[in-house]
């Protein structure tokens, strides 16, 4: 276990170095983690302690049995202590200072021009980085200028070619530091050379692990667990952050949760870790916990917009209108032109049933970020609600093309086609979505329903799907009921009785009542009666007597029949006698 003190010292230096190189988002991230480490007792200020007390009380509220303050036992591997690199220039050149000022004013080309003859590694990096950003900015502008009738979007960052040439030359001669390697990796990734980009990024993080931007670029290149495992990474506590993030994106939520809970031993108050944990829990559908976590997060960091779209999803699922509107208002005031904000507002309107408005906000989110996955999917949902199936299909398809692992969009596609009366066509999409999330009973049930439609009527396949749904903890109990009914329909009374009994047991355990209950009881009573198991039949009949309605009458007549049969009367179907 690495000591908190080391982390703290390393991060402090790193933040300075990162912001000196204008890598602001990495610096921001490092700063968050620095504050996330438990308070340094030596220089605590009252405001700090207040801040931390609040957050820890939240944490205690939802996880009481787990002590937070005691560090986790060491996992037992050696952490390679990476020495902090020396600054190559003790005093920055005047030109560098000017360039940095330009950069901070977002005058990228000017910044790079100022540094045109500087040969120190730091200056070279800043020059290239500024050039890259200038190219990116121009690209964004061109994208809008050049948009043709067919969505022609051949806008590219025109600096990439020269940057790649220069950086690769520098890399060959060794005139490049880890920041330069990071930039090289980014450039290579944009040019589509993924394996080389990965190698460059790995080199960068191995020599300078505190650059979170490099780690997240590396994560985006790890599209499968095999690639992730093949990376040759030095051990460092930053690697744990990376692994947690990578596992999460590869939908290995429990592994990722384990990483985060380990890291929480050091960074007990890190908002980042808390948000990531919440994300993982969300994927595991633990909505209550997630809500509590986000509440805590917002209390600590009231102007946070990142990840809040997820929170809004939770609120949507829980149909908490008021809370959702409060959240929407809050982010709206903070920064209304963030895709997340638009998404939250869209969710709110959707919950209110105003789908046109919701679509408008999702569109706005997409205008701000074309590759914003969840907005596409959510927009698809809205179109489904508006019965505009082609548009819904289009939206879902875009989501799938951005990320083929998005099971929600695949599911949406299946649903849309099923709505249009094309169940056989829809099956393909359901299969796709199940492929990415095989343990979700909802998907299995949807597929089973598809098989069950009157057009297909492939009941055997439906039964198979329901069985899978039962195996993966079907919380709503649809599958058991349907299994029983299907077997009943196919005349397999033994199986039907088995599943009815199981379903009844589930309903008893959860204390539920309803038509399903009557149905099960009536079936079981008649079933056992016809099989001459009168005791069981009587039990079910007496249970039915507790309820009023036609079932009660049915139970009475059944009981009468049972008595008759037991007393040895000739078996006659009494029910059919006119009384």
């Amino acid at each position: 276990m690495v000591s908190k003190e080391t982390c703290r010292n390393e991060l402090r230096v790193a933040i300075r170095q990162l912001s000196d190189r204008c890598l602001y988002s990495a610096a921001k991230w490092a700063g968050e983690q620095l504050v996330g480490i438990e308070q340094d007792p030596s220089n605590s200020t009252p405001s700090n302690t207040r801040f931390q007390r609040g957050s820890s009380s939240i944490r205690r509220r939802f996880s009481t049995n787990e002590s937070i303050s005691t560090p986790q036992p060491s996992v037992g591997f050696l952490q390679a202590a990476t020495p902090l690199p020396e600054e190559d220039e003790a005093i920055d050149g005047d030109l560098y200072l000017l360039a940095k000022a330009y950069f901070d004013n977002r005058e990228y080309r000017r910044a790079s021009h100022v540094l045109r003859d500087q040969m120190s590694k730091k200056s070279v990096f800043l020059r290239c980085y500024a050039l890259y950003l200038a190219g990116e900015k121009r690209k964004e502008e061109e994208m809008i200028e050049l948009e043709g009738p067919l969505g022609k979007s051949d806008a590219i960052n025109r600096e990439l070619v020269s940057l790649e040439r220069e950086l690769s030359a520098l890399r060959r001669t060794g005139g490049i530091d880890s920041f330069g390697l990071y930039l090289y990796g980014v450039v290579l990734k944009e040019k589509g050379n993924e394996s080389l980009a990965r190698a460059s990024l790995v080199e960068s993080v191995n020599s300078y692990p505190w650059n979170w931007s490099a780690w997240s670029e590396l994560q985006s290149l790890c599209t499968s667990i095999e690639i992730l495992n093949s990376l040759n990474l030095n051990n460092h506590w930053m690697k744990e952050f990376f692994l947690g993030y990578a596992y999460q994106e590869l939908r290995m939520h429990t592994e990722s949760l384990a990483k985060y809970s380990y890291l929480q031993g050091i960074f007990s108050f890190s908002n980042y870790i808390q948000a990531q944990t919440a994300k993982a829990q969300y994927s595991l559908r633990e909505f209550d916990q997630v809500e509590i976590m986000f509440e805590g997060l917002l209390r600590n960091d009231p102007y946070r917009v990142e990840d809040m779209d997820l929170y809004s999803n939770v609120l949507y699922a829980k149909e908490a209108c008021a809370a959702l509107s409060y959240l929407a208002h809050k982010v709206f005031l903070t920064d209304k032109y963030r895709p997340e904000s638009c998404c939250i507002i869209g969710n709110y309107y959707s919950l209110k049933g105003q789908h046109e408005k919701a679509v408008m906000y999702f569109r706005r989110a997409l205008k701000l970020n074309k590759k914003y996955l969840s907005a596409w999917t959510l927009m698809g949902h809205e179109y489904v609600e508006m019965k505009n199936t082609p548009a819904a299909i289009d939206a879902y398809r875009r989501a799938v093309d951005i990320n083929p692992c998005d099971y929600r969009a695949w599911y949406g596609l299946g649903q849309a086609y099923e709505m249009m009366g094309m169940p056989f066509y829809a099956l393909h999409y359901f299969r796709k979505s199940i492929f990415f999330l095989p343990n979700d009973s909802r998907l299995w049930i949807a597929m089973a329903k598809c098989y069950q439609t009157e057009q297909l009527y492939m009941l055997e396949e439906a039964i198979k799907c329901y069985k899978r749904a039962v195996n993966s903890t079907d919380s709503e109990g649809i599958a058991l009921n349907q299994l029983a009914k299907l077997h009943q329909k196919l005349g397999r009374n033994e199986e039907a009785a088995f599943y009815f009994e199981k379903d009844l047991g589930r309903m008893d355990a959860e204390g539920l009542e309803g038509p399903n209950m009557f149905e099960a009881l009536v079936f079981l009573a008649t079933h056992f009666k016809t099989h001459k198991k009168f005791e069981e039949a009587e039990v079910y009949c007496t249970r039915l007597l507790d309820y009023s309605g036609p079932e009660k009458e049915k139970a009475k007549s059944l009981l009468r029949g049972i008595r008759m049969a037991q007393t040895g009367f000739p078996t006659m179907d009494l029910e059919h006698f006119p009384i």
Partner: protein, 916 residues
Amino acid sequence: MAGLTRTAGAFAVTPHKISVCILLQIYAPSAQMSLPFPFSSVSQHNRLGLYLLSITKSCNDIFEPKLEELINQLREVGEDMGAWLTDHLINRFSSLASPDDLLNFFNDMRGILGSLDSGVVQDDQIILDPNSNLGMFVRRCILAFNLLSFEGVCHLFSSIEVYCKEGHSSSTQFDASNNKLGPLTQYDQMDMESYAMDKATEELELHKNARGSVPFHLHTAEALFEVTEGLLDTRKETSRTSKKSTEATAVACASSSTLEDTLVDDSLFLRTNLQIQGFLMEQADAIEIHGRSSSFSSSSIESFLEQLQNLAPELHRVHFLRYLNKLHSDDYFAALDNLLRYFDYSAGTEGFDLVPPSTGCSMYGRYEIALLCLGMMHFRFGHPNLALEVLTEAVRVSQQLSNDTCLAYTLAAMSNLLSEMGIASTGSVLGSLYSPVTSTASSLSVQQRVYILLKESLRKADSLKLRRLVASNHLAMAKFELMHVQRPLLSFGPKASTRHKTCPVSVCKEIRLGAYLVSDFSSESSTMTIDGSLSSAWLKDLQKPWGLPLISKDSDSRKSSTFFQFYDHLVSIPGSVSQLIGASYLLRATSWELYGSAPMARINTLVYVTLFGDSSSSSDAELAYLKLIQHLALYKGYKDAFAALKIAEEKFLTVSKSKILLLKLQLLHERALHCGNLKLAHRMCNELGGLASTAMGVDMELKVEASLREARTLLAAKQYSQAANVAHSLFCTCHKFNLQIEKASVLLLLAEIHKKSGNAVLGLPYALASISFCQSFNLDLLKASATLTLAELWLGLGSNHAKRALDLLHGAFPMILGHGGLELRARAYIFEANCYLSDPSFSVSTDPDTVLDSLRQASDDLQTLEYHELAAEASYLMAMVNDKLGRFEEREEAAALFKRHIIALENPQDVEQNMA
């Protein structure tokens, strides 16, 4: 929603259009223009005008020529003014140094348009009528430029830079260090270029002087080209681009090569939606036609499509083309993926001309077309049950949305599926089928269902005036009539007529009805096809008139010739129509084959190959070749057949399961059987069987063929009981899958087996059954051969039946001699001789020639066929007869022949080595 309907972006100014404008300025200089080009003659001027006319037409094409190509064309067109034109063009471009110059340029362009009302026109000034083609072009350019925002002007400006730079970097190789071109170095290059051109013209002058008075229009263009080629040697490799053709491969090659150079190919300017659709349609045709031929690479077209997709992400039809491409390269997963993607994005409303858009697409989209396509895809990949499910859904959905057109197509596809795929008559699949059309007659056999579906589809197509569908339905109907005996669907009482015969007349009628399409296809062909093919047709025209030596200076005549070419393109038959008509010829050939007329079959195939070979899909062309080669093997022997096969193999890819591969195996098997090389025959037979899919009901034809050949191999190996077993199970399969025609030949084979095993009595009923099958299906040739077998069986019962056998044989003789192959003829001859010889009332010595002639004929035929076993028999008989007659010399000759055949039969390896 984006992607659902986007109006086509109209006319955009591109560097190429600016080039054209510059040339137009030369053609019709405005009054203020400082340096008008001195045209040496009116015809020269007219020639430039014509060229400009064609080039403005081709501006509607998808690809625009690069500057370099334009210069090449100018050189060919312009003769001696070409150099000057090029020079001017380049200078004009180099003078465009800032966006403001562009603005001025277009202001100047206004000057060359004559105003409608102004009467003040100088005598020698050429005024462009604003309503003429060229005038319209200029006006459109000006309008498009005026609509541009400042950003647009900037982009145009930078693309002009790229345009010029490319023109130079490809023509002159400069140091790579000069890469950061300022306008200065660019200017250097231009000097270089014009210097080269000057040099060229100088040398040309020299040439001309040396040759004296050569009529310049005959040589100039070419000579100039040669000279410049010498100077700028890099031209050589790039000159291929001057022969720009819209053929898919060429375009794909060109674009893929540029793909390597730059990430995004700037030469690819996108045109309007409609034109791209037309272009893509052409590509689709190309994929279909060349799908299997070796000259076509699917990867090149794939990379081209990928590029197109990058440029136009909202052009969803590209996905469809990728699907087609993948379909033809047998990549199931990619094909499925692309198909689904296409329909997800476009909702089936983009690019399908099945339905005229005026009927309006409902807000539900046209996903039933997706189902139809998916069904056909499953069909092609050999999943008949899946395909049937999907098509059933397609029927249901199109009925729901009352899309009758799609319904008609779906029904046709379904009937096609049912008739092609062997679906057992027990019909577990059809049992679960819920289909409103077919459910009315759930107790019907598969054949009857096919019939109903076809009729229904035909009726719908007819009422919707879908000519092509009507035609293909007629063809399908003809096929059906050919293969199946018509029975009334519902028969009431004893009086219901039961005709147990196919009706060749109705087959003929259906085929002819199908071919009527050619006369009235035009009513259906949509505007899009015409537009798309026309815009590229113009480019084709471009090469033609200028590449030819210009025989007459009279520009009027040339103009009319271009006009006629243009007109020609208008009336030319769309590819799909000629394909259908071609298919009708193939079907004719097949039906004649079945009915047993070899010459008619051959003629029809030849007609197909000569007339429709270009437009046919590769699989149809393959089939035609196959038929011709089979014909060769049957009538001309194996040597010719194998030589022809080699040619066919070069033409078509021999991927697994291709027809050519099948044919090769068949031929090898046949030949091995005849040579007595049973091991080889067995191997070939197994390989043939291995090609078939293991799934039930798929590749039925192939499976039947393989087991038929297996039985024949076993028969040749004298393993009679096994052969009979195989044949029996084959008969059962045929019965199960309702393959009537195959049944006839299996029965004949059974008779053959019994005959060979010496069980003539057992063989008789089989032979008779086969004959009756042949009769009801009008299979005349097969019937003749069955009759021969029957006669042989009679003779096998004893020599007292010789007379009867002879009578039978003579009855079948005309058919056999007229249409039978070498083997059948030889067999008949030998058998005739046998009959005579075993007839006690016949004496050899009185009439030796009757026997000897037949035997000689048989022996000749068998020589070419290399059928050693029968040949040995023939020579043996000949030797015996000659011995009887006392002709010893001839006897020895025949005996030697006999010996040679026997040795060859016993040592088949030698033959095989020779063959290899």
